[in-house]
């Protein structure tokens, strides 16, 4: 491939990584807000509130863990990202 494509490829990788870092930052805020959601159910006078909250909280927990695992796996430290970026120069665009 022509050399002009390489910077674009690298930039896109860098861009992806930054958005992933944003996601990693936002995740706890989302999580915190969602964990507070059961507080708003209090008004509804339905039996079994604890069971529903229990299922909701643990379900949300599993979702957060999964998302966190996905983000962390793709969010390599900067040094590595730069290294692999440079390594990608040789076989530009092969990945």
């Amino acid at each position: 491939m022509s050399p002009e494509h390489t910077p674009l490829f690298l930039a896109r990788r860098g861009y992806r990584r930054r958005r992933l870092a944003d996601a990693a930052r936002v995740l706890p805020l989302f999580g915190g807000a969602l964990f507070c959601l059961p507080l708003l159910w209090k008004g509804t006078e339905r039996a079994g509130g604890t069971v529903q909250a229990l299922i909701y909280v643990f379900g949300l927990w599993v979702v957060l863990i999964t998302v966190s695992a996905l983000i962390s796996r793709h969010l390599s430290p900067e040094e590595q990202a730069q290294d692999s970026g440079r390594g990608g120069d040789g076989g530009a665009g092969t990945r």
Partner: protein, 895 residues
């Protein structure tokens, strides 16, 4: 055998297993087979000390009393972990780059290495953690008592106090044994971490086993369990919003600031990679830990009598169903939770107490002399061991005084609020460059005061530490200062009330103090380094010093880090600077590196003070200030660069001068040698000629006279031959034409032979040896090696000017190399002569002894041929030479 006896036996076996695991892990780490010890899994498991006995037993009790609210204690840390990219990553990086040893060290280091701040944090941490340790002791004794009560014949009821005492003593022994192996708190405690990881697995398995038993064994499946929950007293979701949010925030804050969590999160962390795994693995652990809490609580409430303590449901439920094995497993889970928390908390607190309280006091009273002469290392280790004992003893005393009553049950959250006071100073320090020491001090002081007044002191109950009148009407009748209703905020939950007010005042004082005060240069420098930790890997240097101080620094470093580590650090720094030997130039970079290394052992503030005592130079250079001051004008930057350049030039010039001096000295010595060698050759020649003439020309010599003259001629020729042999030897060695005659033998036998050949031990010249360390098999040219040893021993005999002269020979094996040190007690060799002693023809001073100055040059050539090295070792009392030699396997491998 009764269940109780079985329990004691299992418990003892478990403790033996723990010691075994810790010992094996330490051993594996020592012989370098420990890569799996550094895995992300072990790191994640070590974080589980967050789940103490308070959460193991207490979560079920919490759930039985107030439903799902218990889960907030786990949600906070979950949010912190999945938000690792924000806070933890920076915290861990700063911790690594600044070689932080504890949370007190981090805060003090950030605010200009202020020891006052460190002491304040340490005291608050000890006050907050002691009751927590007492709580762990209580949980172990309570669970013992639960077993005792289930006995058919409850005559053998164990004494609660003595159980607690035994547990505390055992933990102290374990912690001292495996927690103070090495002084450098930055080095991982492999044994401890491994034991804790194992305990983490045990407690998770125990809780899951009880949970599975309850859900599938007692309730009959998931659907039936959910139905039971709906029918239980905690079916309604009645959680107060302020407590839900407040406790989640509180646990998140405490997760970052608890001394024990800081220890495993930051101090024991080795790379970002671990954090990446823990970001999802640790929340998973927490989720599993709390998965079965509500079912256990509900089934316990249903099946057990109304007066049963819900805090012990995890234990009493299997017991009442006759599942003794499961109950014992559950006991081990609780035991693991309690012990792992106490061990790490004791390590963290003892590091803080010894580095920030004991060491500064000791240094203050022993003055500068101590830095150079005293053995700081032993003192620091001893201080740490005593602190561990002290912390555990305090916990035990607290447990006795409180009588294990209800006051303890609430202490978990109270301790959380106490340590949460560190958060503003910690986070402010990491993210806000404007945060100052005054602000941090004010914030901490206000926060701690409010916490003590509103939560800690009232927790003992009315009329114990605070009189009832204060609760009802406030101090001096000021009703707006009532501890449970500060400024008229009545009807709030006490924990949330104290949390809100203490943090509000803490943050306000911190921000105001920071805005109004002006930081010192060192503070601004540290602030810049901490806040920009991710951007700049290496911070600018801080010290400037002269050559003469290197040896003092080495002396001090040896006393703190141990001789081998210090020498290795100095030697590698010297190699990097292109200087041979053990004394690098005290460049700012090197001094900063040294200070960080020392900080790993004694904390940043103390290390800074010690280096300052020796170097004495400005600790903040112009260059550093430039980096801090954003408003720096370019011209100033230019001049600072000039200054740096000129310093660099001065250093280079000094090195050049040194090299030139060496060359001149060698040239002078060569001239001297030529006249010396002519003289040495001439003297025997003259007498040989004279006596042979006498023999030839004189007719009437008696046989006695004849033999006497012939003997003289013979002796002189022998002397000549020896001199010529030496010269020949050296030239052969230098040209590499020598054949090595490889033999095997022990170092001990070789040294015996060398000592004998060099004139033996005794008669006013003593040789100290450690025969135990000399049992090393050698496979090398033993004759050549003996030649080196003989030379060194007879040199010491000739030149050591102490009365009485003593030579000590020490052998060690490190990294596949044999190291033999020959250290005498004389006046040594002055620094300027170090460079030339191994040169040919070099003789130092006009010494009484004869010799052509070839001995050490030959030694050096021999050691080079043998693949080893000989060097002068500075920083000892007298002259010291170090011989290093690769051991057999390495030689074979190399060939």
């Amino acid at each position: 055998m009764t269940v109780l006896n079985l329990l004691v036996l299992v418990c003892l076996l478990y403790v033996v297993l723990l010691f075994g695991v810790a010992f094996a892990a330490d051993r594996a780490a020592r012989i370098g087979r420990a890569s799996w010890l550094r895995s992300s899994a072990v790191y994640t498991l070590s974080l589980s000390i967050y789940c103490t006995a308070w959460t193991f037993y207490g979560a079920v009790g919490f759930a039985a009393r107030s439903g799902l609210e218990f889960v907030t204690i786990y949600l906070g840390p979950t949010l912190v972990m999945i938000g690792w990219w924000w806070t933890l990553r920076r915290l861990v990086r700063v911790g690594r780059s600044q070689r932080i040893t504890s949370i007190a060290d981090l805060i003090s280091s950030r605010y200009g290495k202020s020891n006052l701040l460190a002491v304040l944090v340490t005291v608050l941490a000890v006050v907050g953690t002691t009751p927590y340790i007492a709580l762990q002791l209580q949980s172990v004794t309570l669970s013992f008592a639960a077993f005792a009560k289930a006995e058919p014949s409850p005559t053998a009821l164990p004494d609660m106090q003595s159980t607690a005492l035994w547990v505390a003593a055992g933990l102290a022994v374990f912690t001292i044994l495996f927690g103070t192996r090495n002084l450098d708190a930055n080095e991982r405690h492999h044994g401890v971490v491994m034991a804790i990881a194992m305990e983490a697995v045990v407690k998770l398995c125990a809780l899951l086993a009880v949970g599975v038993f309850v859900v599938w064994g007692l309730s009959g499946g998931i659907g039936a369990t959910l139905a039971r929950i709906e029918a239980s007293p905690i079916a309604r979701f009645e959680v107060s919003g302020s407590r839900w949010v407040g406790l989640t925030l509180l646990s998140a804050m405490a997760f970052l600031t608890l001394p024990r969590m800081f220890q495993v999160l930051v101090v024991e962390n080795e790379e970002d990679e671990h954090l990446r795994t823990a970001a999802w693995a640790f929340p998973t652990y927490l989720m599993l830990m709390s998965l079965f809490v509500v079912p256990i609580a509900v089934v316990g409430l249903e099946l057990l009598p109304a007066d049963a303590n819900p805090d012990l449901f995890v234990l009493t439920l299997p017991l009442s169903e006759g599942r003794d094995g499961l109950a014992i497993l559950s006991f081990l889970g609780g035991f693991s939770s309690a012990t792992s928390m106490v061990i790490v908390a004791a390590i963290a607190l003892s590091t803080m107490v010894s580095n920030h309280v004991v060491m500064p006091i000791w240094l203050h009273y022993s003055g500068r002399a101590a830095v150079v002469a005293g053995d700081v290392r032993t003192v620091a280790l001893m201080a740490r061991r005593l602190s561990i004992g002290g912390v555990l003893f305090l916990g035990y005393i607290y447990f006795r005084l409180s009588g294990g009553g209800t006051a303890l049950a609430a202490i978990g959250l109270i301790a959380f609020v106490g340590v949460a006071q560190f958060l503003p100073a910690l986070m402010g320090g990491l993210f806000w460059r404007g945060a100052t020491r005054i602000g941090a001090l004010a914030g901490l002081a206000f926060g701690a005061a409010v916490w003590l007044y509103c939560l800690f002191l009232p927790s003992f109950g009315p009329s114990v530490l605070l009189p009832q009148a204060v609760f009802d009407h406030g101090p001096w009748g000021l009703s707006w200062l009532r501890p449970r209703a500060l400024f008229g905020t009545e009807g709030m939950d006490p924990v949330i009330h104290a949390l809100m007010w203490s943090l509000l005042l803490n943050v306000s004082a911190f921000v105001l103090g920071s805005l109004l005060s002006f930081p010192q240069p060192l503070e601004r420098l540290q602030g810049a380094q901490f806040v920009n930790a991710s951007d700049r890997a290496n911070a600018p240097g801080g010290w400037s010093g002269g050559m003469a101080q290197s040896e003092d620094l080495l002396l001090m470093a040896q006393r703190i880090m141990g001789a081998r580590e210090a020498q290795a650090l100095f030697a590698s720094a010297a190699r990097r600077q292109g200087v041979s030997g053990y004394l690098p130039e005290p460049s700012p970079d090197f001094l900063q590196e040294l200070e960080r290394a020392l900080a790993g052992s004694v904390g940043a503030a103390t290390a800074h003070a010690m280096v300052g005592q020796i170097v004495g130079g400005a600790s903040v250079t112009v260059e550093d200030l430039m980096a801090v001051a954003d408003e720096a004008a370019q011209i100033m930057e230019y001049s600072s660069q000039l200054e740096a350049k000129s310093q660099e030039l001065a250093r280079t010039a000094r090195q050049l001068r040194q090299a030139n001096e060496t060359l001149t000295q060698i040239s002078v010595q060569k001239d001297g040698f030529l006249s010396q060698i002519s003289h040495e050759l001439r003297t025997p020649m003259t007498s040989i000629r004279a006596f042979s003439e006498i023999l030839r020309d004189t007719q009437d010599l008696t046989p006695d006279e004849q033999s006497k003259y012939a003997t003289i001629i013979h002796d002189e020729t022998v002397r000549l031959t020896r001199l010529l042999d030496d010269l020949l030897d050296l030239s052969v060695l230098e040209n590499g034409q020598v054949d090595l005659n490889i033999q095997t033998g022990t170092l001990e036998a070789l040294l015996d032979r060398s000592v004998r050949a060099a004139g033996g031990d005794g008669e006013g010249f003593r040789i100290l040896r450690d025969r135990g360390s000399e049992q090393v098999e050698l496979a090398t040219d033993l004759d050549r090696l003996a030649q080196v040893f003989i030379n060194l021993i007879s040199n010491a005999r000739k030149y050591c000017d102490a009365i009485p002269p003593v030579l000590s020979i020490r052998a060690t094996v490190a990294e596949g190399r044999l190291v033999v040190d020959f250290v005498d007690n004389g006046s040594g060799i002055s620094t300027d002569k170090h460079a030339v002693i191994f040169e040919k023809f070099s003789r130092i001073g006009q010494t009484k002894a004869s010799g052509a100055g070839l001995g050490l040059a030959i030694c050096r050539e021999i050691m080079e041929r043998l693949g080893g090295d000989i060097s002068y070792l500075p920083g000892q009392k007298g002259a010291a030479f170090r011989v290093t030699l690769p051991l057999a396997e390495d030689r074979m491998a190399a060939q």
